[in-house]
Point group: C2
DNA sequence: ACATCCTTTGCAATCGATTGACAAGCTAAT
DNA sequence: ATTAGCTTGTCAATCGATTGCAAAGGATGT
């Protein structure tokens, strides 16, 4: 037999729909006599009643969904941040479950735009963008006028939206300081694509310390086309052609680092004796490598947790915490340096 | 100024709400005079009208969403199948965009159950499970009585639901035949966890051919705890302890294979001279490795496309195609064998 | 005994879009 | 001239849950 609607439940029990609604709700349950409440709940379970969330969303004006934008679903770090966010959003005891609408922008502004339109049409309660690029600024600003928008992982200088971030600048600086300690005189960065602030910040932090410590960097920046290991692998030639040849490479993320390592292996050079490599993020693969990767551990938990907190307080209308402090990542020294 | 509802639009234009609805719709637009239609559309754009999909969903009984269950969001192959599905679902010209609700089960039946409940409450138009394990059978069967359920990637023997699958058995067989050709006499499988049919089928296909060709396998099966490179790395000891020592390993997926390769490197053995390794899926990393991985390319496009097609036809109520033929994966020979 | 308060429940409006039934106006056909 | 048929648009019901308001009934206080 088909599952009953609230109305049918009400008829069967000989009470009004509103009583059912209240008895089944979390916050209005106290308005209903304990006896009735139990009767209703029992009947609801027995009959296999299933609330229609589309109807509830319409009436409430809140859909209990949040839109999540990621640049790339294959990126482990993004996924882990999202996992933390979702986990935190649904850990609340009283709060009803929030369903995330997750989609990928591939760093295409047109995709971001389309997705945000969809989210707004679906009346999401908030939007979390881990995909913000400068090209999205206007779209996000626009969206923020209708619904809370939270920036995570990637910041946007021109837009002052609540954000949950990693201190990428400091992350870059940490690597440079470490290279300095190890006595490297000539180093090199392999940068990710310029779209997002993330890589720029890492580059700036790194270069600032290098300048300060008198460490040499090649005059021309080396950019990988994508932040992937395949793209990283391709950059090794460029790295080795700079002169004097660097003794250490700072790859802007672990995927790039792994690509470089494989290229270095192919060439028969030794790591770290001939050339040292450090990455960023500390993905799982970093530990699996035959010579485990030195890298900067991304503060996934902190960023995710903070983003979730921002979402929660913005949805409930609590005073949004002011400017949040970015979380400091942590160097993990392994064997590639 | 706040965005108008359909009602407000109607008032401004002095027509009925129903006219607006029809003018803006795809399929009923012909019921409205071209002139009026244009007037409405223009006004809609100018005023920034944004349809409320929660309201539309309630009225229509269809939400234009599909629930997608994945065991693990970090698995590149699953993600790629999902990408294909989403792409195909939204490529239709006339059909309105379908929003996927993506969630991860981590192979926990309780999570699967909870998610399916949520999907049903949200009135998804269909559910696609790439996460089916035997423990989920009942839950899925139950769900299938309310909404179309499609199985992708992982099959479920006891349940005859429309499925989009890879012929894993044949995939395993292909590897065994290839090992035979290369003259291997003693080989070994590193299996993934038993939960899903996938790995079982690969194992069976492989073993059947080995038996037929007189190739020796160790008596005790070697299982990795998870289908990850970290878990794969840990299994090398077990592999090397079998006697006679195998000269080739068939890892049930690329992550496992990569873990094994790293372990082999650490130990100073040569690939493929001392020991050959083949994987399954053909993830991107397989090509980036210093010695690129021989592997079985998963028919991502076919599986994804077929799943999307099933969803489409089941939603529109078209005759569901009968039993579908699983797609044959393809061996990609590289340098680890 | 009467006013007052509290608890519990029902009534009815509402969220915003969609759609079947129907009416008005117009053209074409017999 | 009348009927039939088509186009275009309106009316009103509907999807299923939520919630402000009010009423009924009971308990308490004076």
């Amino acid at each position: 037999m088909r599952r009953p609607s609230m109305k049918e439940l009400a008829e069967r029990l000989g009470v009004d729909r509103s009583t059912i609604s209240r008895a089944l709700s979390e916050d209005k349950a106290h308005l209903v006599a304990p006896e009735t409440r139990e009767k209703v709940r029992k009947m609801a379970v027995d009959s296999g009643y299933r609330p229609d969330l589309t109807a509830a969303a319409l009436r409430r004006g809140r859909s209990q969904t949040v839109g999540v934008l990621v640049p790339d679903l294959e990126n482990e770090t993004f996924i882990n941040v999202i996992r933390t966010i979702i986990g935190s959003l649904n850990s609340g005891d009283g709060t009803p479950a929030t369903t995330p609408l997750i989609a990928e922008t591939q760093d295409r502004p047109s995709a971001a735009q389309r997705l945000i339109e969809t989210y707004l049409s679906r009346r999401v309660d908030a939007i979390i963008s881990l995909a913000s690029t400068e090209a999205d600024e206007e779209i996000l600003a626009e969206a923020a006028r209708e619904v809370p928008v939270i920036l995570a992982v990637r910041s946007l200088a021109a837009l002052s939206l609540p954000s949950a971030l990693c201190d990428d600048r400091e992350g870059g600086a940490i690597v440079a300081r470490y290279f300095a300690e190890r006595g490297h005189k000539t180093v090199c960065q392999v940068r990710g694509p310029l779209l997002a602030t993330t890589f720029n910040n890492r580059a700036q932090g790194f270069s600032a310390v290098c300048a300060e410590k008198g460490i040499k960097e090649p005059p021309e920046a080396i950019h990988a086309e994508h932040a992937t290991s395949a793209a990283g692998k391709k950059t090794l030639d460029a790295v080795l052609q700079t002169s004097p040849r660097p003794t250490a490479i700072f790859a802007h993320n672990d995927a790039l680092a792994i690509g470089l390592i494989e290229a270095i292996r192919e060439r028969g050079l030794r790591i770290p004796e001939d050339i040292a490599v450090a990455g960023f993020n500390d993905i799982k693969m970093a530990q699996v490598l035959a010579t485990p990767l030195t890298t900067v551990a991304y503060p996934i938990e902190e960023v995710g947790e903070h983003a979730a907190q921002l979402v929660r307080s913005l949805i409930t209308g609590d005073p949004a915490p002011g400017q949040s402090v970015p979380f400091i990542p942590k160097l993990v020294i392994r064997r590639t340096t």
